[in-house]
């Protein structure tokens, strides 16, 4: 119990003090921790380095600007943006309910909502197929109504939203829990209606965590592969996003696949840098 209190206090201090508190007092670590850390860092860095070494840099520009590469990149950016918007619109209310509401089955709901984090994406894709597919639970009715989701860009957005939504819910919910309810209670005591409290107090407090959650969502959506391939198929300009294009090229033109992979690695570095600079800033939600 005391341990947890201390951790909570420490995280509160870290949240208020920003990066400064982490730098002030170096804590001694046993040597084996460094050995493990080195092995762990190598495991992540070495493969990326190996791929960079194999990249045909002289042909990089023509490879990543071929028409199929540009079509895949454009589609990836459009679908990831659309699913990020969906994640914010659906994930924020979900996080608010999970953090603030009290009803039976709340814990179960949280567990279910976070399920896509641990599910293999191909399983998610199959689940979507049996829901929105042409012979799926809802897909059949949609089909009758003239709405075809199968093999469309909408299917890609659905798959990406499915896998990315938990990232937004996690960041926002954690921020809500860390922030506590004292400002909201004060506002309510002063006579503000729930809608006003949400708009004027809760949401402004959430902005930093919402921003980092949004960036993470976008990153996850951009990298989505398994669910898309299983559920949406693969057609240039319609459903073949950058990871699917890489998968196809890997089998026939490895040079192009490596170049496109480096493009995604570069994007990921930018995204991580953006998220990190946010979490290191004082007063951020500290959700990530």
């Amino acid at each position: 119990m005391t341990n947890r209190d201390a951790m909570a206090a420490a995280s509160r201090v870290a949240g208020r003090g920003g990066g400064r508190s982490g730098r002030s007092a170096p804590v001694g670590l046993p040597l084996w921790v460094f050995a493990g850390a080195l092995a762990g860092a190598l495991l992540i860095v070495l493969p990326l380095l190996a791929m960079a070494l194999r990249t045909n840099w002289s042909g990089f520009l023509p490879l990543v600007t071929s028409s199929s590469a540009l079509a895949a990149l454009g589609l990836s950016l459009r679908t990831a943006a659309a699913s990020t918007v969906l994640c914010v619109l659906l994930g924020t209310p979900l996080a608010l309910v999970l953090a603030r509401a009290r009803f039976r089955g709340l814990k179960l709901l949280r567990a279910l909502v976070l399920l896509p984090l641990v599910l293999p994406p191909v399983v998610g894709g199959m689940a979507l197929l049996y829901t929105f597919g042409r012979r799926g639970l809802l897909g059949e009715a949609f089909e009758v109504a003239g709405i075809g989701i199968a093999f469309s860009t909408a299917a890609v957005v659905l798959a990406q939203t499915f896998v990315a939504l938990p990232f937004l819910v996690l960041s926002v919910e954690a921020a809500l829990r860390t922030a506590g309810t004292k400002f909201e209670t004060a506002a309510a005591t002063l006579g503000a209606a729930p809608g006003t409290v949400l708009r004027r107090v809760t949401l402004p407090l959430l902005l930093p965590s919402l921003a980092s959650g949004t960036i993470l969502c976008f990153a996850r959506a951009l990298g989505e592969f398994g669910a898309t391939l299983t559920f949406a198929g693969s057609l240039a300009g319609v459903t073949r996003t950058l990871p699917l294009e890489i998968y196809l090229q890997h089998e026939t033109d490895p040079d192009a696949a490596i170049a496109l992979s480096m493009l995604l690695v570069g994007t990921a570095v930018v995204i991580v840098a953006l998220t990190y600079s946010r979490t290191a800033r004082p007063g951020s939600g500290g959700a990530t």
Binding site: P30, L31, A35, S234, E251
Partner: protein, 269 residues
């Protein structure tokens, strides 16, 4: 600081690294790999990389080869031919490679990765399949030009896609698929589940699809036929398994192989 605790932590570091490498070693075991130890001193493992469409007959032929040459274990790896070729070029431990088209075999050959000349052992022809009951009422290739028909086929870069394109060309139809998959198995899966109204696969997939799919006869299919070559790899020959590989290839091309392949729907080259 004395030497004692430092040395202790160094020992623990070594122990942690050792534990880590043991975990990795445990993970790297390939299916069937442990059987080398069981099969005694003369036990040899032959690794065969074969096109996904060969899964049925090759599984059967691997068992009969193990029976014919006691102490041998045949390890099989099935995937799209292009994927397998990429793996072999990257140094994968294949002793035998069976591809679904000559172009893919040629890619491995020109990189100097073959241990002998490739030998054609089977043929296959493209086939048009629909889900059981033919919900979209497809009567032939011409119906695939209708925009309302969800056609799924392989991407042109992989053997089954190239064959489908030759078939379309021979029949003068233009195909507008809703999805281009990486392997013929993915196409078959989308037809089986009813996601696709029609799919272009191989004749052997009609056999594999069982009652879930129906074949629609198409003319000129023979003009788009593909030939399956098989060859021993350079790596297998250099590691002393050339003889075993040659024996397996002989087995596939021989009467046992012919029977198994014919039963799966393959033709004779």
């Amino acid at each position: 600081m004395t030497g004692g605790p430092r040395r202790g932590s160094r020992h623990r570091a070594a122990a942690a690294l050792l534990a880590g490498s043991l975990v990795l070693a445990g993970c790297s075991g390939t299916p069937g790999g442990d059987r080398t130890a069981d099969s005694g001193g003369d036990g040899q493992v032959l690794t065969v990389y074969a096109a996904a469409s060969l899964a049925g007959p090759f599984t059967e032929l691997a068992r009969s080869y193990e029976f014919a040459v006691p102490g041998t274990t045949v390890r099989l790896n099935f995937a799209g031919s292009a994927e397998l070729a990429t793996q072999i070029l990257a140094g994968a431990p294949a002793d035998v490679f069976a591809s679904a088209d000559s172009a893919t075999m040629e890619r491995v050959d020109s990189a100097g990765e073959l241990g002998g000349a490739p030998r054609d052992f089977a043929t296959n022809v493209p086939a048009l399949v629909v889900p059981a009951g033919n919900p979209a009422g497809i009567a032939g290739l011409a119906d695939l030009e209708d925009d309302g028909v969800a056609l799924v086929m392989c991407a042109q870069q992989v053997p089954c896609g190239a064959a489908a394109h030759r078939l379309a060309l021979a029949n003068a139809v233009s195909l507008r698929p809703v999805s281009e998959e990486n392997s013929v198995t993915a196409v078959l899966a989308k037809v089986r589940t009813g996601e696709a109204d029609a799919g272009l696969v191989y004749r052997t997939d009609v056999v594999r699809g069982g009652g879930d799919v129906e074949a629609i006869p198409v003319p000129q299919a023979d003009e788009a036929a593909v030939t399956y070559p098989i060859a021993a790899t350079r790596r297998g020959a250099e590691t002393g398994r050339g003889q075993l590989a040659a024996g397996f290839i002989e087995h596939v091309a021989g009467p046992k192989g012919r029977a198994a392949l014919e039963q799966a729907g393959f033709g004779t080259p």
